[in-house]
Subunit: 210 residues, 4 copies
DNA sequence: CATGAATGAGGCTTCATTCAT
DNA sequence: TATGAATGAAGCCTCATTCAT
């Protein structure tokens, strides 16, 4: 009467569930305290498990943090891709990608900064966390620069170096994100999306010859 | 013929020299290992002094790091201001400010990132270091937004929110900086300056209606 | 037949046992080296645990020392009270209180001095340890001066200032204690008790007019 | 014209003067902060000399503290002896000795406690300081017990163990001293002298049989 | 002789990791 | 498998002592 041998045993399901719980807890703790003060103790507390349990799911703190980043990154990039597919024009795709990021961040608060973070002063540069950040960052860069490349081909964008262009967009988003996170009552997402897109498309120049 | 105003005793000169040596050592260590792993032990080693000696010059690790940031920030902003005064047009002022930052960073490598850094995931958010970063960042924001405001009045720039505009520029510079720092052989500064200015003034839009 | 109220889990029992072990180790170390040289390292060694373990039981060195004092003080005052209740006459109560102290100290050696110690030259005067000493000392003062007051009312004692009288008794005890502790073979307790009581009741005067 | 070769050269006089200055400074610092917090830095500051200078006069911190104790002890015992010689009766001698101590302590405040201090919890027991304290204490004990012995021979005192009797007196004095030092406005010396002498001669007993 | 900058041993405390239950 | 007590390396800081000037 048992269901036809599921591809995953009950143990595996439980394990995956716990893993996700822990990663979420890590996300919350990092968001609240920052990387530097996110201790295993605190993460365990937040996850409602014992400290030792964390080591049954992750081999080290480094690994746990790296997975937490990866986890959130997956979430975010999935949303971004989905959002861009709902519209046609590349300007609109860009707009929706920006909106997806801002919305995601609104849900996950401060932690989110780390997603677009690069290997930074704060983190041991040889570390797994650093490599994960770099990898995630690169993936997002490729995603955005893909939009730019195809948008340039379609004539909607100037033919700028797409990698550079993508980087710039990401930085601008992060900058605005930071403000939003600092604000107790940030403006609504739409208005910030427009600010970014307007600036990103037209720059600050008055339009005359340079 | 010698001036009768010694103004600084030999001891003061020596003290200032040592202070600068330590700050430079700190700058190198932070550049190499990041904030999180910059220990007093390591800084002392780099400076060629004993651990205890650091405490003759700075009352705590926090204070030392904060001063290292401040020290570099002063250098950089001084250069930026000077550079902008050598030219008239606001677009040129902007260009020279960007160049000053890139050049300064070329000399001080990775540490430099911290200068434009804001209180970040890596750093205890209540700390003196965090406050110093915020202060420095705010000062640079005011400097750039001053340029934007006056440039807008002169008709060279669109009337965007100057604080936002300044933030965006700084983020773009940081983004490029990061690439330069990662590159073993970064392109020459002029070319990167043009990339930034071009993007910053015109955006990536093709120019049609949005 | 067994009680159904476990009241304390096995973990709590173990915890209490360890706590007591550590406090005893601290007591020995303080007794051996004095407060000033009682380091956490040394206490951990004496207790047979790692340095870090101490911090699972006490939040700081101060707290550990303060609890060690408190721990021993509780022991001692409990015994003193019990001893005084076994006899009627106030002179006898006094005698038994003195005996309790001397006996207790015989068991706990040098550390014991600290129990009757007041915030002293050796200890940071604002510290928790200092406050604990003061508190303990005051409690003992009240206990003794209670005996004096009631004994005076019963006509057994002269109506001296009871607080002063209590202080004097404690100091006399301490003085004798010190000798006992210094001696490898102190005289038996009874004889010292009589010495104290005799002196305390009659003074050194020959009895004529002053 | 120079005075006929003084027994001490000018250098020696200066040296002795400096030595005394430093010892006084140490006395003040110990009185203010206690032994545990009396650092060489602080003593040098108080004495108005450089830290290194202290080591020209004393070979170590230990030695300096021991000499400071010795120095103050000499002062005090000299006064006590002188005071006892101004009167005949042993009860009066005792009274004057007590008064000398209280008066001396009024001048030198908290530091004074250390004079009657015995090797204590606070101090490394093998140390020079500990040995100095013991020595000083013993000397004072001998002084007082001499009074008691001779007073007993003259019939003024009961024939108690003179060493014990001396100890008890010293402890009683210390106890009162402590109160005086804690009080912002201690009662006048005379009244405390009488309290001590009254208690010391007659005890607290009501006079009936024990 | 005097100075005070420099030293470095040693003290307190934190926290990632291990392991017996 | 989960726990959390125990561990000890490593970090920050203090201060007695030394020594070049």
């Amino acid at each position: 009467m048992q269901t036809s041998r599921p591809s995953r045993t009950k143990e595996e399901v439980v394990k995956d569930f716990r893993t996700a719980e822990i990663l979420d807890a890590a996300r919350r703790v990092i968001g609240e305290l920052g990387f530097a003060d996110a201790s295993m103790e605190r993460i365990a507390l937040e996850a409602g498990v014992a400290k030792g349990t964390l080591y049954r799911y992750f081999e080290s703190k480094e690994s746990l943090l790296a997975h937490a980043l990866e986890h959130a990154h997956r979430d975010m990039i999935t949303r971004s891709r989905a959002a861009t597919q709902r519209v046609r024009a590349y300007r609109d795709k860009l707009r929706e990608a920006v909106r997806a990021v801002l919305e995601y961040s609104a849900e996950h608060q401060a932690f989110y900064q780390a997603l677009l973070e690069r290997p930074d002063l704060s983190i041991d540069r040889e570390s797994v966390v650093a490599r994960t950040l770099t990898k995630n960052f690169e993936e997002y860069i490729r995603f955005v620069s893909g939009l730019l490349t195809r948008g340039a081909r379609s004539g909607e964008f100037r033919p700028v170096d797409p990698r550079r262009g993508a980087q710039f967009l990401i930085e601008i988003i992060r900058s605005l994100l930071r403000e939003r996170l600092a604000d107790r009552k940030p403006p609504d997402v739409d208005s910030d999306v427009e600010t970014i897109i307007d600036f990103y498309l037209h720059g600050v120049g008055a339009g005359g010859l340079e």
